[in-house]
Every structure is written in structure tokens, then in C-alpha cells.
Symmetry: C2
Subunit: 688 residues, 2 copies
């Protein structure tokens, strides 16, 4: 380590103190500074001062991670003049290096450039160990790159017959001396390849160290390839993001259908399968693990990397997916009291989950489940959206077959699951379907003519625009997906076709051929083609039940916290990404809120998995947060039922949707319409 | 926990302080005492006082481990009268229990018996947690029972929907409260069976905890079966000892041929096999692991236990066996600088070594190798023979294909390996064979007639006794084993047939038809049957080379320590157990020593594995000792060659065997016989 010269240690750094055999170094942006002996490499100076400069090779000019630039000119505030020739000329190493990697014309390898005079040294973001990984959405925090697995290039002493020690012990000694890594244990599979690697590499190897305490991999010579895979195991889809652990960048993403679908479409049918077929959980475990192994191979191929360079995997998933992934029978999650096997994080070898193809010692980290209905996917959402760090009262809803609801702020955080059922996914809707090409996803209804127009997935044209038939010739118009049904119902409501209590107004049939009697109820014809797409009264009821459950869950948590409004709302998950939040509010899926503060988070669960992959501290953070989350079980809360019944109606101009009323033209509340907010469910039930 | 009453806490325990609601309890043999409230269970009192009383069930009357006896009569030195009725009458639990287990007529379950008056309570050795496991040999320390794996019976809270926690977390909580075990992690395979076990056991389970920090197994209800297997992986034989972890007793032992023999008889031929057949180490690893799995099944069957109750395995073996067991290519051990992959202990799952059949989470502990030629078997020998704890200068030799030599005491400890070759195992001897029925193992030669008599393995009769032919009809007399050749040569020497320089004296041929010319040298006819067994001059030379290597190794270590004599000698290994130490000294295999202080240790390596199995602290102990052992590499020590050459001759009446000369009638040294001790090897070489 470079030591500051006497002048520096006396605290004087100005020009007046300059002595001939030392010079002042100022690092930007950190502002750290000191006087050092001429000839000292800049990297050594950075380390002495605690400036964050990356290096895998430990200053041997192999990795190129420690690039800096030398500022040019007078720096009055530092009291120095900095110049290129205040550091040693380009070394042969740097020249060779320039040919092989992007070392900008101004760039220097700080391990090669030596001090020759006062300099201001800028450490660009890419050269910092703890660099920030930028996320697309401005409202969320950046990820600080600090992966659990790190590579270290190391030079190991050769064996000495006079002092016989194991190759492993000499490697450990080298890691202690060259990387300050002490007390390292190691995996047997690493040990099995250690001796060959050391000799092939001429006693120079690169090792992968997990959690700064265990050597999990070894390669001959210098190596700079370490990847991680963040996986969101959904009931329907398994999504994986392959990340470069050196940059934090996602280099490939892919999704696969969850092959467990052949055992049951939704979660409960899979639990039923296990109950009916003892040992069936093992089939499902095998199926999902094989799919994940295939997914790893697929993203590796897309990212053009060797899958064996995947050293770390993180997982999120709902409790049943979590248990099946781990090979735990999910039967207990199928009925009260919904006991999880564990609500803590799990770290193990990928091989324990039969995830072949990745590095043989790759580690798996599984985020914690929160409660029997609130899984590691919700833990991932929290890690991504950080309600626990915010002063704002934040509501997060992640809508799948069930809706996971998180409410709170840095003071308190509550979580619950609401039994919305699969209506939002297009199931239980007569013309419903999964979000796929041909599915209607946007709907507008003319307030006067009551004629609809729509868009289908796979085309940017509205159905009344020229070329629509041509554009959708291949896919057809096949059904309506979750976001489409929300818009259809909301537009029907805003156009007066739907009444506040959710009945399709039969009186409209006189005004529009679109509304037709259908037995004792009425339906609305959305599309007259083949197939004919029609919104039935039962479809409206299904959505009403789902949205009432969602709203009631949110409302229940608000009661627990004693709040009447929330400061922001985040919609997570695929459904949340695709719906227009305005329509979600028109139907009353979510409580009233400033619409500017309602946003979609996309696959926030998957992002949480990615954060846990890239940042060690995030793991401790989510473990702590999950412990202090207050878990609310909707099934045992009488108030949930009350809110549920009260939330069946659609919002209107009076309370509780003042913000929404400023954005859309909500209907005026009828004089004595039954079942609206303010009308107690008890009275409503009596009336019913 | 029971708290001492005020009288006790004031330090007064005599009769004068006795108050009506408390009584005095004195435990023997510990002498711990205190006053406690009447009605307190004796086990609770024992725990409060820190008296070592075993319990798996935690005081629920299930395990029967906490048996004590109540002393009867006056105990003046304690100032009390103790009586059976000073504790509560036999409880129903104890009565039921008596039928099921051996609770002696005086025995009480200390968890059931409650204090009713002053008592002296004796805790028998079997009821102590840290009981001593007695060993057959008086000179070695007893093993304190303190296995790494312990069973704990525990009652777990049922899940509560209002406070949803995982089953694992409630188990951890119960273990913290009921067994003071905090910060427990767990194996995935345990977690996979946890939920069923809890429900089957009605929320009462027994868990196996490894190192007081990891839950490795769970069973419904109470369970009291935990076993361990100590394995010595020899080049020729794999020996296993199945131990009850509750008592420390060996309940079954078995040995199997090491199937690696088909890849090469001795160690170097197996390393050569790997060098010639890349990947060949994997075949050998597979073979040895399969054999160990079979051995585990065999001892389990012999001990009548379920092999899945084997929770822990410990291993010793020479460096090449050690590496092959672990799946590490042993090539590096085949040539200088003989680098070990690791010289530290290894703890892993049995499943990582493909050891199926035992408990799926069974752990393996592999003792450390010391140097490239000095393996974990020697570490086991040290743990068994404890030279590092002794003030005496101790020499231990473990003779196999090579001889491992340990010399030292509590101050310093040195270790080396001497290249004796396989002559002591009967190889390289014209009529040599393995120790098996039919092999000559004892030899006597009449000093006058020079006629031999012998014993063979499988019969207790000498060859000149009546009935010998009948007794050996089935086996025949097939060859001579290691201990037999030692006795044969020693007797030949003592009878004057062999000269000090190791030549068979041709002059004898005139006196006895047993000595016959055999080309330019002579031979001695040991047995005239079919096959004819004859000791050739080359046989003598082979043993001379082997014994000179052994002696030179010991002598080299003595030089390093600067000592001329040793206080005791221990011969370890199968060969060491079978040779008569007197004859070993006559031939000069070992240095001179009081013969009363020379002993055989049997399979001390295997005993070391057993100690590491039964006693946690022994693991830390051997790790520390191995680190401070001074490793001597005979191959690079010029003095080894000198000692080797000097040790070719046989001992005689003059130095250096004064102790031996008092026991046997050694020949008088010839006037100017070449090559004897005192004659420098350099001069000897010049003459040659």
C-alpha cells in the first residue's frame, strides 16, 4: 500500500508544501486527496485513499477495469495544475491493452500510470466497484452494483517440498495477501479442479468467491466472465433475466411457459393435483426445474455466453411456486392455516435444485415468502418499489390469479392477498382469453352512438381505421384479454350502458342494437365478427367480484393503518403494466388517488430478483423488511367481507373518487341506488 | 429452570438452615449441591446446578437417558440423611417406562422424580452427556462422548393464521426455547420433510442438529436412534466401525477389499493408472465410493439398524486414498513436489461423495492430510495415540506399503514417510503372501539343530506339534506373511544362519541340509512341503532394504529433534499388530527402546476416525496439531540416505541396541565385519 508522505500526513496539501519527491493527487468525483511519493501507481494511491476503483486482476494490467482520466489544466480550488505529463507515459501494457479493449484516448490504466506531478484524476462511473445500475423508471432507486459473487485474479506460490502445504492453502494465503480475503472455505467441486487449474495457469488463476467467504470456482489464468440469472417463477410463465455481474446490465431475457400448467391451469388446481396424486409434487418440481434449466440455456445462447459462466441465480415466485421449486409439498398452502414451510430466505447450490448446465457450484438465492398467500414475488416487488424507504403512503398491487397488496411507508408496512380469482386474466369471461395476438386490449365506446371501437394485440390500428381488417387478417379478432375487459366495462359505464350496480341497462336496448336481451339480462355486442364477441351480464359480475376483492383488500389494509387515502399507487405484474390506470380507477379496482401518482411497475417481482442478484445488501434488506411486515389474512377479517360487499358498485361523481372525477366524466350518482359506498353492507345484505 | 432457594443462595447448605419448603440436594460424583423448593424435578435441579445429566426428550419421560439413583442412609460429610422417600413415588411414566427399558430397581428418571426431602443423587456414567467411552488399551486416553450430531425432541407451536410464520421458524423458536439452540440453519432435504413430520407427530418431533448450528434431520414424535460410521480407507482394505452416537459403543465392524485393487495393487500403480488413463481417477473414485456405500449397508445389517440412521461419517486414509475418495486426481501425489490439493479437514454431505443408503443429509468429516506422503490415516493415528499430549518422547510407526513415522512429544512433533516398499506386506518375497489362512506367521529355529518350526494363520498349533497336519489340511501351508518373514529372518540371525551384513552363511551348509547353495548365494529351507517354502538371499535383501528405510526415517526424525533414544514406541497398522516387537527390534526395524515400552496400537488410524466421530473437540484438536507438525521429506534429506545405508546391517551386542541385548541373546559383533553401525556409509560405499 502506498503511504501518504510526511507532508500529507501533516495535513498540508497546498502548493507551498510541495516537496520534490512527492505530488498531490485529487480524485474526482469523490474529492479524496493526498500527497504521495512520485512513481506510485495511481491505483495504489486510490486504494490507500479508499477511492472506489474496480479491479479484477489486482493491478496487473489484465482486466482494464481500473481506467481513469487525467484532468488537464489549472484547478484553483485544489491549488494545483494537472497535466497528462504529470503521470508516467503510456506503458507497453497500456498500449497492448488499447488494441484489445476500449481504452479511450484520454483513458489510463490506473495500475500502470505512475505519479510524476500534481494531478486531478477522474474515476468514471464504469470504473467504480459499486457503480450504479441505471433503471428505466425515474421514480425508483438505482441498483448499486455489489454482487455476492466476485472474481479475483491471484498469483499462487508453487509447492515447496520443504514446507509441504496443500495447493488450496497456498491459494488461500494468496487471496489473503493479495485481496485481503481471509477465512475462506471452498466447494469440493472447486477443489477437484484446483490442481489442474493452477498448473495450467502457471500458478496464476482467477477464482470466484461467494459472500467473501467461500471459493466456488477456479479457472487457469485471468478471466473476467461472471453472470447471474434472476428468475421469476410465475404460475403461467417463467421469466429469466441474464445479467453481467461486472456491469449489472441485462444481456438477455427470456420467458417460457411454466410446464406445470399440464397439471393444472391455476395454483389451486395444482395443489389439488398433489392432493389427488400423492407424489405429484415431485412431478411438478421436476417439470419446473427442467424448464428453468432450459431457460438458463436459452438466455445463455441469446446472450452468447457459456451457461457454465452463470455463477449465481436468484428466484422469486408465489408461495406455491416457491415450494414446488424447492421440492416442498405445497399441500399445506392449499387450506387454512396456510402454513409456509419457511418464511426465510434460502441459499443453496443450483445442483440441489437439479439446475444443470450452469456452473457446477452456482449458488441459488430464493427470496423469502411473506405469508401463506403472499410470496417471494411480493418480496421482490417490495425490493423493487421500496415502499419501506418512502415517507409517502404507498399502495402496491400485484395482480395475478390472486392480488398481492402491500400498503405502507417507512414507518409501517402491511401485506395481504385478495382472492380476486382469474377474471382479470381473462378467465371466467365468456369471450375472455390470455393476452395474445388477436385479443382486444383497448376499447372506446362513443358516448352518443354507443358504437365501440377497439385495438387488438399485434396491431396499432383502431378497428374503425382504414387497414384494420388487413392488419388483423393473420391473427383475427379472437377474444378479449384482461386489460380489454377492464376498458370495455369502464367505457360501458362511462357511456351509461352499465349502471352503478353493474347491471347492463336494458333501457338502452331501445337506443342501440348493440344492447340486446339475453334471457332475463342484457348483453353488449363488442364485435360482430367470427367469433362474435359479446359482454354478458355474467362477465360484468365476474369482474365486479374480482375488483371488489381487490379493492376490499386495499381498503382493509388502509383501515389497519388508519388512513383514508394513499399518496401513490403502483400496479405491478403483466396485467398492471397493460391496463390504463384511469380505467382501473373508473371500475374501482383501486382507491382514489392523484392519477399522476399512479404508475405501472412492470415485472417488479422479477426486478426484485435482479436487485437481489446484483446487490448483496439488498438480501439483508429484504430479509429485515419481510420480518417486520404486518401480515393481514383477509380470510379471517370480518371487515374484508364488509368492504367486499360495499365495493361491488362502480364509482361515481360523489365520494370516494374525487381525483378521478377531475379526469373523466363520471356519472352522477342516482338518487337511491342500492349498494353504493356509504351504504353499509349490513343494510345492503338485509335488503338483498 | 429451578432456582436455588434463598437459603441456598446465601451459601448455607447445612441442616441448621433447612426450611420446611426446601431441601438439600447433593449430586455425586460431581459434588454439586444446592437447596431447592420441594416438588422440583431432579433433572431441573441438575440443570440449574450444571450437573451433566443426559436427555434427548427434554424431561418428558420419553428417552430414559436421565436415570439417577437415590442414595440411602446418613451422609455425614454432607450433613444429611438421604432416603428413597425423599423423592416423589414412582410416577406412572416411570412405571410404564420400566416395562420398556432397563430402569434398575433403584433407578429413577430424574425428570419425573421430584424433591421431597434432603437427598444424595448419584448420576451414573451412562446418564452423563459427556460420558467416557472406555478403550481396551490402558495406555491411551478414554474418548469423551460429545458427537457433532445430537438429537433433540421438541414440541412446536401450531401455525396461527393471525401471525403467519413458517413451520421452520416455529421449529427454530421451539429449539431456542427448549434447547437453547439459536441461529440454526437447515438442509433443504430436511425442510422438504418438515411439514409432514410435524403433522404426523402432532407437532412433536425429534430433530438431528449438526454442530449445534444446522438442522439436518427431522422425524415425527420421539426418536432415539443416531449412528455414526468411522471409515479407514486403506489401499488394500476398507474398514468401517459403526458406532452408537448415544453410547459411543462400536455396534458392528466390517472390512471390504478396496476394489481399486483392480486398477493397481499398490498406491503408485494406481497413480500410474491415472497417468496412463486420463479420467481413470473417476473410475477409482466411483469404485471406492460404491464399496463404502456397500460397507455402510453391511455394518448396518450386522448392527441391525436402518442405514438411514447413520447421520455422520468420518474418514481417514493415506493421501492417495484421501484424494481418490474426494474425487481429486492424485497425479500430483505421484511425483515431486508431492503437492496435496488440501491439507485441511473437509466437511461435506455424504451425498457429495455419492454415499447413498445412509441418511440423505448425513455429513462426512475427512481428517486432514499432513503432507504429500503422510495422510489423514496418520492424523488418525496421532489422535488415537496422542503423542502431542505426552511428555515422553514417542515414536509411532504405521507400516503399510510406506511407513508413516511420527516422533515427538507435547513440545514438538515431526512426521515423515519412509519408502519401505511392500516387502513387509509379503510382496517382493519369493514365498511371501498376504496375511491369510495358511500363511506362516510365527517361526522358531533351534539354535543347535537349525531345524525350524512354525505356526500358520488359522491354527494354534506349532508345526512340530501333533495334529498340525490335520489342523492345516484345509488351508495348507501356502506361504509366509509379513510377520512370518520378520520372525524367520530374526530367528535365522539369532541362530547364526544370517550374518550381520544379511548374507546367508554358506559355511552352515556343511552343518545343516536346510542351508543350500542357490547359485552364488545360499537359501534356507523353511518348509519342505508343497509348495516348498525357502528363504532366498534376495528375500533377505528385500527385507533389509525395507527395514533400513524404516529405521532411517525414524533416525532422521531423531536427528531433527536432537535425541538419541525414545521413551516409547507404538507400532500401528495391521502389520504392527501382528509382529512380535522383539523380532522387529532384532532385525532393526525400530530403534532400541525398553521393550516394555514398545506396543502395538492395532488399527490406530481407524480409532482416530472413531474419536473424530464421537468427540467434537477432537476435530479442532487434530486440525491444530496437524498445523504444527514439522513435516520432513525423506527424499530431499541427504542424511536419510546415510542412515539408510548404515541401517542395512543387523543389530548386534554392541551399540546401538543395549535394551534388546538384555532380552535376547544377540550375536557378538565380528571383528571387522563391513557395513555395520559406526562404519560411515560413505566409506562403505567406497569399499563397495
Amino acid at each position: 500500500m502506498a503511504r501518504p508522505t510526511r507532508a500529507a500526513s501533516a495535513g498540508a496539501a497546498g502548493r507551498s508544501c510541495q516537496v520534490s519527491d512527492s505530488a498531490l493527487v485529487v480524485f474526482t468525483p469523490s474529492g479524496k486527496r493526498g500527497r504521495f511519493a512520485l512513481g506510485t501507481p495511481l491505483l495504489e494511491i486510490a486504494r490507500t485513499l479508499g477511492v472506489d476503483v474496480d479491479s479484477v486482476c489486482g493491478g496487473r494490467g489484465l482486466c482494464g477495469r481500473c481506467q481513469v482520466t487525467i484532468a488537464q489544466g489549472e484547478f484553483a480550488k485544489h491549488g494545483i495544475r494537472s497535466a497528462h505529463d504529470h503521470v508516467s507515459p503510456f506503458s507497453d501494457v497500456e498500449k497492448r491493452y488499447r488494441g484489445r479493449r476500449r481504452l479511450g484516448s484520454e483513458g489510463r490504466l490506473s495500475c500502470q500510470a505512475r505519479l510524476q506531478g500534481d494531478v486531478v484524476v477522474d474515476v468514471p462511473a464504469e470504473s467504480q466497484v459499486h457503480k450504479q445500475v441505471v433503471r428505466k423508471r425515474a421514480e425508483v432507486r438505482a441498483i448499486e452494483l455489489d454482487p455476492v459473487v466476485r472474481l479475483h485474479y491471484v498469483e499462487v506460490a508453487e509447492p515447496d517440498m520443504e514446507r509441504p502445504t496443500g495447493d488450496l492453502q497456498r491459494l488461500q494465503e494468496a487471496l489473503r495477501e493479495q485481496w485481503q480475503l481471509g477465512e475462506l472455505t471452498s466447494d469440493l467441486r472447486m477443489l477437484q479442479s484446483l490442481q489442474k487449474a493452477l498448473r495450467q495457469g502457471g500458478w496464476k488463476v482467477t477464482v470466484a468467491v461467494h459472500s467473501a467467504n467461500r471459493i466456488i470456482g477456479v479457472w487457469p489464468g485471468f478471466r473476467d466472465r461472471a453472470y447471474g440469472l434472476a428468475v421469476d417463477v410465475g404460475s403461467t410463465t417463467i421469466a429469466g433475466h441474464l445479467c453481467d455481474l461486472a456491469t449489472g446490465e441485462v444481456i438477455a431475457s427470456a420467458g417460457l411457459m411454466n410446464p406445470q400448467i399440464r397439471f393444472g391451469e391455476d395454483l389451486m388446481s395444482r395443489v389439488s393435483y398433489v392432493m389427488m396424486n400423492p407424489g405429484g409434487e415431485q412431478e411438478m418440481t421436476r417439470a419446473v426445474r427442467q424448464a428453468i434449466a432450459a431457460l438458463a440455456g436459452q438466455v445463455a445462447a441469446e446472450g452468447r455466453i457459456d451457461p457454465r459462466d452463470i455463477l449465481e441465480l436468484t428466484f422469486v415466485g408465489n408461495p406455491i411456486m416457491h415450494h414446488l421449486l424447492l421440492g416442498i409439498d405445497p399441500t399445506e398452502l392449499g387450506g387454512a392455516p396456510f402454513a409456509l414451510a419457511t418464511n426465510e430466505t434460502i441459499t443453496l447450490w443450483a445442483s440441489e435444485l437439479d439446475l444443470v448446465g450452469v456452473h457446477p457450484n452456482a449458488r441459488v438465492y430464493v427470496l423469502p415468502c411473506i405469508a401463506g398467500h403472499v410470496g417471494a414475488d411480493t418480496a421482490g416487488v417490495i425490493l423493487s418499489e421500496t415502499p419501506h424507504l418512502s415517507a409517502k403512503m404507498t399502495l402496491i398491487v400485484d395482480i395475478g390469479t390472486n392480488a398481492e397488496i402491500v400498503l405502507g411507508n417507512r414507518e409501517r408496512l402491511l401485506a395481504a392477498s385478495s382472492p380476486t380469482g382469474p377474471a382479470f386474466e381473462g378467465a371466467q369471461i365468456s369471450c375472455g382469453q390470455r393476452a395474445a395476438p388477436g385479443a382486444i386490449e383497448r376499447v372506446r365506446i362513443d358516448r352518443a352512438s354507443l358504437e365501440p371501437r377497439f385495438k387488438v394485440i399485434g396491431s396499432d390500428l383502431w378497428s374503425d381505421e382504414p387497414g384494420f381488417a388487413e392488419a388483423t387478417r393473420r391473427t383475427g379478432v379472437t377474444g378479449i384479454c384482461g386489460s380489454g375487459i377492464i376498458e370495455a366495462l369502464a367505457e360501458m359505464f362511462l357511456a351509461g350502458i352499465l349502471k352503478s350496480d353493474g347491471t347492463i341497462d336494458g333501457a338502452i336496448a331501445a337506443r342501440s342494437p348493440r344492447v340486446q336481451a339475453d334471457g332475463r339480462t342484457f348483453s353488449y355486442l363488442l364485435h360482430a365478427g367470427e367469433p362474435e364477441l359479446r359482454i354478458l351480464q355474467n362477465d360484468v359480475r365476474a369482474i365486479q367480484l374480482a375488483k371488489a376483492a381487490l379493492y376490499a383488500g386495499a381498503r382493509l389494509l388502509m383501515d389497519h393503518l388508519g388512513v383514508d387515502r394513499v399518496d401513490r399507487i403502483t400496479l405491478a405484474g403483466a396485467f398492471g403494466s397493460h391496463i390504463d390506470v384511469k380505467y382501473a380507477m373508473v371500475l374501482g379496482l383501486i382507491p382514489d388517488c392523484d392519477l399522476a401518482k399512479v404508475s405501472s411497475a412492470g415485472n417488479a417481482a422479477g426486478t426484485g430478483a435482479r436487485i437481489a442478484l446484483l446487490n448483496r445488501a439488498a438480501r439483508g434488506e429484504i430479509e429485515r423488511v419481510v420480518k417486520r411486515i404486518e401480515k393481514i389474512e383477509t380470510a379471517v377479517e370480518p371487515r374484508f367481507q364488509e368492504h367486499f360487499v360495499g365495493a361491488m358498485a362502480l364509482p361515481h361523481k360523489s365520494a370516494p373518487y374525487p381525483n378521478l372525477a377531475t379526469v373523466v366524466d363520471l356519472p352522477t350518482p342516482p338518487a337511491a341506488e342500492p349498494g353504493l359506498a356509504g351504504d353499509s353492507p349490513r343494510r345492503r345484505r338485509r335488503r338483498a
